[in-house]
């Protein structure tokens, strides 16, 4: 069973407005694949559509992962298949502690249809040990386990908690949506290190890194860089493409793709 993420001619709209206009992209296992693009190019729409956000309507196309067209699956089924979306703007859930949320997420992943949840749930002692280790590794104070999820957290704290969730859930394909936005350089380093540790531990893990700036790619080094513009992937290259974009901006590609005066 292939664990490539294959996106075929994906069109998606929000309301009447088409945002994705035929995205073709393959993310191979064991690679870090960056998608760069200017604001409004459809990067976040792509990550939300892959995960199944209800505000986006897929009008045509397919997204294949592990032998399934995941567009036919519920959001939680996609997660259980190994997909993980690190949110650009993590949502707060008042009244639900970080620990309880994580336990529900871990148990959701372990749940098997038709089986008594008590048989599949993670033993409490093991969960406590896991969360403690992961929090220590990410420099997250243990007191956060008892706080309500993302409720009153700073931007940096929210992003660390995203990576904490990722390291607890161990996805086979992670999508990082503008993870660098709102992060200072210290937080950026911690978050990147968290991602790199996961990748090193799992040689088959694929990562799709969505970013506006090259900065993040100094810390999470991509094997492949794709450029997105106006709802399509318009260029693909190696890590050097990110550096070229940093140097020259997006305009030169825009001219090459859409011609002068566009």
């Amino acid at each position: 069973m292939s664990s490539e993420l294959v996106i075929k001619d994906l069109h998606a709209s929000i309301g009447d407005k088409e945002i994705l206009k035929g995205v073709n992209l393959t993310v191979k296992p064991g690679t870090i694949h960056a998608i760069m693009g200017p604001n409004g190019s459809g990067k976040s729409t792509l990550s939300n559509t892959i995960m199944g956000h209800p505000s986006y309507t897929v009008t045509s196309g397919e997204v294949w992962y592990k032998g399934q067209n995941i567009l036919e699956l519920d959001v939680d089924q996609r997660a259980k298949l190994g997909l993980f979306l690190a949110f650009q703007y993590p949502v707060s859930i008042p009244g639900v502690t970080v620990a309880n949320f994580l336990r529900a997420a871990v148990n959701g992943h372990r749940a098997v249809e038709g089986k008594d949840p008590r048989e599949t749930q993670i033993p409490m002692a093991q969960f406590r040990k896991d969360i403690r280790e992961k929090m220590a590794a990410l420099g997250v104070d243990e007191a956060f386990a008892r706080r309500y999820l993302n409720d009153g957290f700073s931007g940096g704290e929210k992003k660390r908690i995203e990576i904490l969730q990722m390291s607890m859930l161990k996805p086979s394909m992670a999508i990082m949506d503008e993870t660098d936005s709102g992060l200072d350089i210290d937080a950026l380093k911690v978050v990147s290190q968290g991602v790199n540790t996961l990748v090193q531990a799992n040689a088959d893990m694929g990562v799709l890194v969505i970013t506006h700036y090259q900065r993040l790619l100094n810390y999470i080094k991509p094997n492949v860089v794709s450029v997105m513009m106006e709802g399509r992937i318009v260029r693909e290259g190696g890590p050097e493409l990110a550096l070229t974009l940093e140097e020259r901006g997006y305009d030169f590609i825009r001219e090459e793709v859409f011609g002068n005066g566009n």
Binding site: D76, F84, F87, N100, A105, H109, L169
Partner: protein, 393 residues
């Protein structure tokens, strides 16, 4: 044993007076009866009065069962109010009716004239107890409950109290609770209405809060078919405070109304209200609140939050918050209100972590109530109530 009384419509002094009760109480009941006769039927905009029709109500005398959950904290007096009127006559006489007068409504007057059940709780001066006191009121099927609770905390006293109405009795219940906090007293109060699904409940719960006294109030209302609760906190004393939370669950066929009144009377009084409602199926819940800042109240801080979650399209919640300010020296007055379905963004986020939609909704709703349920001082009761709510949503 239950004593049959005549239909309420034709109530006379001979029916309501109890020969063995002290003379002052007989006079007091008689005043209640006069008030009952004099009152017009109330006009309740959002409560269907036919649910509480006097013609159907048959007084049945003392029908209640009263249970003390654990040992009462040492030094605290806990006994049926009907006994306290003999054993602690002076104390009861001094406070009975001071928070809920027979004048407030026809139903409060009916209670004054005819109450048989209820309890008396008294905490002497400066006695600080931490052990929670859990009092439960029940009643038998086919009965009308007329219960009256009187709770008095003397100067500097501390008490943690749970008053719970629980069980499948009825169908009619009329309960008055008077909470008297003398200067410097602290009451952590949980008032729970977890009646069975057929009960028609009318409640008056009023706290009078003295100088520098504090009440932390958690109201949890999940039972009954119909509920009409008029609750009130009177911040009479200077520096008095209330931290007032409520959780209401109304599902199929239930019509639950809470009318909380908050009065700032003293100087430098502070109030935080956080009322939460979940409606499901054809459930209907109403928040009909009023905050009144009286002329003499200066340096006042008041904040009202009320939030409602709708779990089905037929469910309904109404919110009618009111604010009346008769002073120009308010330090802070705020209000926030939301009403709607479970947030799509929260659902998406949780599902994106592998949590099923049903589980996600469940967690969001329980999280919504968490700060209120967290106030229940007894762990076993908290778990019981949490499980009961969880089963309903």
């Amino acid at each position: 044993m239950a004593t049959k009384l005549p239909a309420i419509a034709s109530l006379s002094a001979a029916d309501v007076l109890v020969a063995t009760e002290p003379a002052w109480l007989q006079t007091w009941r008689q005043h209640g009866l006069s008030a009952f006769t004099a009152h017009e039927m109330p006009y309740w905009r959002r409560t269907d009065l036919t649910a509480y029709a006097f013609a159907d109500m048959q007084l049945t005398g003392d029908v209640g069962t009263f249970k003390i959950g654990a040992d009462a904290p040492a030094g605290v007096i806990v006994m049926p109010l009907s006994q306290a009127v003999h054993d602690h006559a002076a104390l009861v006489q001094a406070h009975l009716g001071s928070a809920v007068s027979a004048k407030v409504s026809k139903y409060a007057a009916l209670n004054a004239a005819t109450w048989r059940d209820g309890w008396f709780v008294y905490v002497p001066k400066n006695l600080e107890t931490t052990l929670p006191l859990h009092l439960t009121q029940g009643f038998g099927a086919g009965n009308t409950l007329m219960a009256r609770n009187l709770v008095v905390l003397e100067r500097g006293a501390h008490l943690t109290l749970v008053e719970q109405l629980h069980g499948d009795g009825g169908p009619y219940s009329n309960v008055v609770s008077e909470l008297i906090l003398v200067d410097g007293a602290t009451l952590k109060y949980t008032g729970m209405q977890t009646w069975g699904a057929k009960v028609h409940h009318v409640g008056h719960v009023v706290a009078n809060v003295g100088n520098n006294a504090t009440i932390e109030w958690a109201a949890i209302n999940t039972g009954a078919l119909h509920q009409h609760i008029e609750a009130e906190t009177n911040l009479v004393g200077n520096g008095s405070r209330v931290d007032w939370m409520a959780a209401t669950v109304a599902s199929d066929g239930q019509r639950l109304l809470t009318a909380p009144w908050l009065r700032h009377v003293g100087r430098s009084t502070e109030a935080h209200m956080d009322f939460k409602t979940v409606v499901k199926g054809t459930g209907y819940a109403t928040f009909d609140g009023m905050i009144k800042i009286e002329g003499g109240s200066t340096d006042t801080v008041t904040r009202l939050e009320e939030h409602a979650l709708h779990l089905s399209p037929q469910a309904r919640s109404d919110s009618i918050p009111g604010l009346k300010i008769d002073t120009n020296n308010v330090q802070k007055a705020g209000h926030a209100s939301t009403s709607g379905e479970v947030d799509d963004e929260q659902l998406f986020y949780m599902q994106a972590r592998g949590i099923s939609k049903a589980e996600a909704v469940h967690m969001i709703v329980m999280g919504f109530f968490e700060p209120v349920l967290d106030r229940i001082p007894l762990e076993s009761l908290r778990e019981q109530v949490t499980a009961a709510i969880a089963a309903r949503i």
